[in-house]
Symmetry: C2
Subunit: 446 residues, 2 copies
């Protein structure tokens, strides 16, 4: 969309190191987390480079970012005790600073290790100390960030280049160390001139992304989108429209939001950044309602998602994972004759599961999910991807049956998203095309 002014802000790059991340055995959570922190500081994050534990590849990544004129580089990983952990050394060489052993730091690391090692009484403490000595060898003149685990972080200024913030790979350590990195003089000097960049998000559910493209064109024609950087993406079945803009463009953004709201009133469910998970949590908590689940194909994923948020014990009572048909009957009270007649994957069984979850856990809201997650188990009448979901409460219920695309993990994950939206709609009294909304016999009686 319309581009941002050329240089609103300090710029940053992120280098994520580790062959395990490059090759996908470990999912990088640090790049995204650091990106968000940099944005909060008004620093424009332009690139993330993922490189393996190879000296020359890490060096090239630093050179690339320095060549693009970034003010700050943040690295994660490669500070461990094994020989493939090279980051401090590579950054030192890049900055033209010799590596020196910091005796006091070595002593502090040894202090940290002592209690940890008591868990493994068989280990030779001296051998461990040698392993960890290398973590106390740092580029001369670097500011040391105190270890959270055993690895210290570093802030390393580069003459005529970016300031490099070197952080450990474990997210917990990286998070805890970040405030200290931001507080260093070298970091503050590097990001001078950063201008606040706002970011707002609209979330829609139940329309194709191409519809948004049309809306963007209309908004551009009607009143322009000058100063807004708009990106749209599909995530877990939802369309997210994210806009970044400097405060001067706030009015342009408001006009854009009004255009989206006018065209997509029925599918725009969030304009304040809240996820559907947070909306469901807020609705349940503010109304003093409780919820329970009975899941077949999702195998507990919806209960896990509902309990992901801190404080969810305020409204989640629990759930039933009823993978086997016998469990559907024994735990959720589904009539075996019903399963026999209409099959385990059916609207009727989804409704019975929702009712069973409510009844067995004494919850205000019950959710039932049954489907064919695949890859096996599909038939012509009930193919892989067919999922039936029902949400029941005292006032009524919403049920829908749908064919979800993708593999086993996609079908399971998407099912939880649809279920969340059904819960939300039932709570706020909305319906969407395809919802079967009615007061059922079971819930009417409650």
């Amino acid at each position: 969309m319309a581009a941002l002014p050329d240089r609103v802000s300090a710029r940053a790059g992120i280098v994520v190191t580790g062959t395990e991340v490059l090759t996908g055995r470990v999912t990088d959570r640090n790049g995204p987390w650091l990106s968000e922190r940099l944005r909060e500081l008004g620093v424009d994050h332009a690139y993330t480079l993922v490189v393996g534990d190879r000296r020359e590849d890490m060096d090239e990544a630093l050179r690339f970012l320095a060549g693009r004129g970034v003010d700050v580089v943040v690295t994660s990983g490669g500070l461990g005790p094994t020989a493939d952990d090279l980051t401090a050394e590579v950054v030192g060489a890049f900055a033209g600073r010799p590596m020196v052993l910091d005796d006091a730091l070595e002593e502090r690391i040894a202090e940290i290790l002592r209690p940890l090692l008591s868990r493994w009484p068989d280990l030779d403490p001296e051998a461990i100390r040698v392993s960890n000595r290398k973590q106390a060898v740092v580029p001369e003149g670097a500011t040391i960030l105190e270890p959270v685990g055993t690895a210290p972080g570093l802030v390393v200024p580069v003459d005529g280049g970016p300031t490099i913030v070197v952080l450990p790979g474990p997210p917990r350590e990286l998070h805890a160390m970040w405030p200290a990195a931001v507080a260093t003089e070298a970091f503050r000097a590097a990001v001078t001139g950063a201008v606040e960049l706002r970011q707002e998000m609209l979330r829609l559910f139940g329309i194709p992304e191409s519809e948004i493209a049309e809306t963007l064109r209309l908004a551009e024609d009607a009143h322009g989108l000058e100063g807004l950087e708009i990106t749209t993406c599909l995530r877990r079945g939802e369309v997210e429209v994210v806009t970044r803009f400097s405060p001067a463009a706030a009015e342009v953004y408001q006009r854009f939001v009004e255009t989206v709201r006018a065209r997509h009133a029925d599918t725009l469910f969030s304009d304040d950044g809240r996820t559907v998970d947070e909306q469901v949590a807020d609705e349940l908590r503010s109304r003093g309602l409780t919820i329970a689940t009975a899941e077949s194909c999702t195998g507990g994923l919806l209960a896990a998602r509902l309990t992901e948020l801190a404080g969810s014990s305020d409204y989640v009572l629990g759930g039933l994972v009823v993978y086997a048909n016998e469990a559907k009957t024994a735990l959720a009270g589904v009539d075996p004759a019903l399963i026999e007649r209409v099959g385990a994957v059916s609207i009727e069984v989804a409704e019975a599961l929702a009712d069973g979850a409510r009844a067995r856990l004494g919850a205000d809201v019950g959710v039932g999910i049954t489907g064919v997650a695949g890859p096996g188990g599909g038939t012509e009448a009930k193919p892989v991807g067919l999922v039936c979901i029902s949400v029941a409460a005292a006032g009524g219920r919403l049920t829908r049956s749908m064919n979800l695309p993708g593999g086993r993990a996609d079908v399971r994950d998407r099912s939880t998203t649809v279920a969340m939206h059904l819960v939300r709609r039932l709570l706020v009294g909305e319906t969407a095309p395809g919802d079967d909304a009615r007061t059922s016999a079971a819930s009417g009686a409650a």
Copy 2:
């Protein structure tokens, strides 16, 4: 560790586009997936660059990789219908190829859209067609990869530079399109000379990473590690040791494995690439045993993890999510007086949950988990991170109590890993230091 020969193989870089990925709203699954596919072809993947939907940043990423002499660049994302989807255009400009409308392709995309649009009968088909026309504008001379969704992929040769494979962002579409990309003449020509690179993995549970560092030094001294590229990482509480090597170094690798096995017999649980999840599945299936869960703090995550593998209905009967104490009693039969006496987070309640899961679902193996996931709810005696897990079967049980580090998500996830290892150890008849192993009254009676 010891480096690989300088250039065993064709080299590749990956460019993941999308502001949503750069800023972490969406987790990239394409980089890791493509990395694995390239490795299988013997192509050495050196860099992944993540860039936002900005023309100049994408162009710089391509220039960087071309400058590093890679033979192939694979891009993912940026092929959608909205104006922020720029990849085809940027790659065309980089390759010096003008963009041309492919009429036949436009027609095929329209054909694909027709049935999809019937789901949204209110939409104007002509407006949608305009939105999608841009997906049929491609660099002159590019090989077109047929759309899986609505976006075609591209293979674009660059004079004196790498061949660029342009793939859509949705993983399902990218996966389905990959074989066609690999089959193109331009791709095959670019990767000529690729040499098979083997990759093997050892997995250990219950030791610190620094112990492995010591083992690596000993192995290096004893017999050398020439030709092995060894990386170690911590993942979900396990230590993974991954080694890449050309077939000529197979014997060196075998000696290395023997050294690890000799030093870490009690913690090395996998040397054939199988995860603990797969081992548990194999053990249950081959013995004809069933499993059921009763989870408090993990809220269904363990049940979801057990049912993640296709075919898990062979051995997973289901589970109980007993978040509220009332649910622990009503669903899992935990004596409320016991909870009153020792607290919900206790060895005793974990054992009662495991027994309750077995009894209520009629399963051979029951798993009970209770703990303080945080951030609230911790006390001095029972701090955040305290988790008690018990696994019960007819022959006996294994129970342990531990303090897990990290935030709410870490504690919940790590709990499922510990539970998986307890199930595995109970099934294969091993114990680890800290396991409380005994024949309990409840299971002894079964």
